[in-house]
Amino acid sequence: MIEVTTLAPFGIALGICVLSWRLNAIQKHPFWSYSTVSSLLFSLMLLSGSLCFLMGTEELTPLYILVPVFGAAAAHFQSIATRKFSEMIHSPLEKMKTLLRKDIVVVGESAVLTTEFIRRITTWVGVENIAAVLTKHARSNPLFRGCKVKDSTLDTPTMIKNIQNIDGKRGTGVVFTSFLKLHDDLFGLCETMMSGEDITELFEDSLAAVYSQHGEGVYVYGLPLLLHRRVFEPLLASCTPECLEEVNARIRGLEKEEPLMRTLEVKNGKIELEEFYRGLARLNPDEMMERIIFVFSQLGNVFSSVKNKALTRKSERLLSKTVSHLTEKHPALTKYGVVKLMSKGVELSGFCRVLGVGESYLIKRPEKHDLEVLEYVIKHDLPALHITTSRPPNLQRENISKNVKTLWLSKLDVKGAVSPSALDILRDTVDNFITQNRGATVVLDGLEYLMLENGHEITVKFLYDLVSMAGVKRARLIVPIDPKAFTPSQLAQLERFLIPIS
């Protein structure tokens, strides 16, 4: 009877089959569908194998033949599954990226971006010219070595093979700089047919298109290049030699605060992004975006604080235009506080003023509590938590965007309602939401009601907790109020830890 334990592997294999099926439901990728079939066949092989042990070998039945048949079929399907998996790596999906090696992900993202850019410029510069550029890089660059040039698209599988031969620590840097050189040549090729502004526009369109399929990772490579072309190249073009010296001196002064600044020093009238990308590649992927924005905001401040007033004005104008443009065309960047690119002391217009991450704002606007910023996050499907006193019909925003969660401050025991006196529940809800959603927006609309229910002191303590959470977890807190509902001293107290916006 003890031979019954031979059924144990069959039971485990059945578990694999169920999990593969569930994983296929989440990820909807052929790897999991083929794995489900394969694990089912594999469990049948183990079942028939176990039954053979239970029946003995005195009289063999055709059941014995099923073991190798199911086994071979299971291996065949698993082999297809692994091949599909390799294909998925060539253009990694958002959900996969956290599992894959950083350099492999960067190859996939940069290749997808470049292919999209090539697709957009092909009609202008011609297939032959693009093929010539790609062939040149395939001969000279270790990342592109041996890549076949076909229909102006990049040979990602070969690139992924090539990256295996490059030292793992240098891999990401090599990918960034290789693509930078390729883009330089492609931009150069386009310059014969169109203006620099148009080329940047096409590159930016490619970035926005690729983002929608492959997520925010594409900005790690794309944003520095975009900012360089949109803001810093025109600024450098209008710099005198004395001005360049001043810029370099200021950059060197910031090195201690941000080591990456050193890589942006101006040499021969140009900023070489190669060094910057090599430095960027050494960072943890989670901190790359915020560091890019921080470094370029510092660079913007350098240009805005030089003695040459004309350059200062030009810098502020270009940065203001670029930031407004980026918030409109690339809303995902607001999660990383792209508005911080704006020079110190220069105010943005409209709702852009409340888009900084890690900041908390007090909006003194009694007549219109329906905030533009909330409309903006809903429109662009950004994560937001709206805590409001509005009655249920107004909560239908919840259905407009899956990323916007609405909580109704009410004592009624209904779905989506939280009692205004349950500050602990509110605090935990906000904490969970901003932990799970990077760069989330929390709108607390109903501070007056919370004060009525809990008293001024307790509500201010609660608000202070939210401000700290938003600061630490890089979210933004927006508190719209009616100033007439507060005494001057209460208002002054709120303004001490919230940035007042009138």
């Binding site: 031979t6 592997p9 994983l23 071979a72 390799s86 492999i104 295996q164 799970q436």
Partner: protein
Amino acid sequence: MMGFDTIRVIVLLITPLGLYFWTKCTLNYLQITRYFRNPGSWRWTLIAMLGIFGAYFTWLAYLLTGENFLWMGFVVFGVMGTLPFLLGNLESYLSLRKVAR
């Protein structure tokens, strides 16, 4: 009704085909492990592949020799060939569910 030796011969004839597919599959897995940031669970997959080979050959030895004690090898190799896959899938399922949320 098939004869005693016919079944053994058929099994032995199909075995190389199975071996070919399992080897191809193992090589694919070896390739995949190189793509991962943390290839831990994928390396366990290779142990699982060895387990599958082990379980199949123990079963084949049982078929050819008729030695009953070989069921123990089948269980040990069978568990070795399935458990890493189960744990790997469970890990992926839990992390993907977290990401999906």
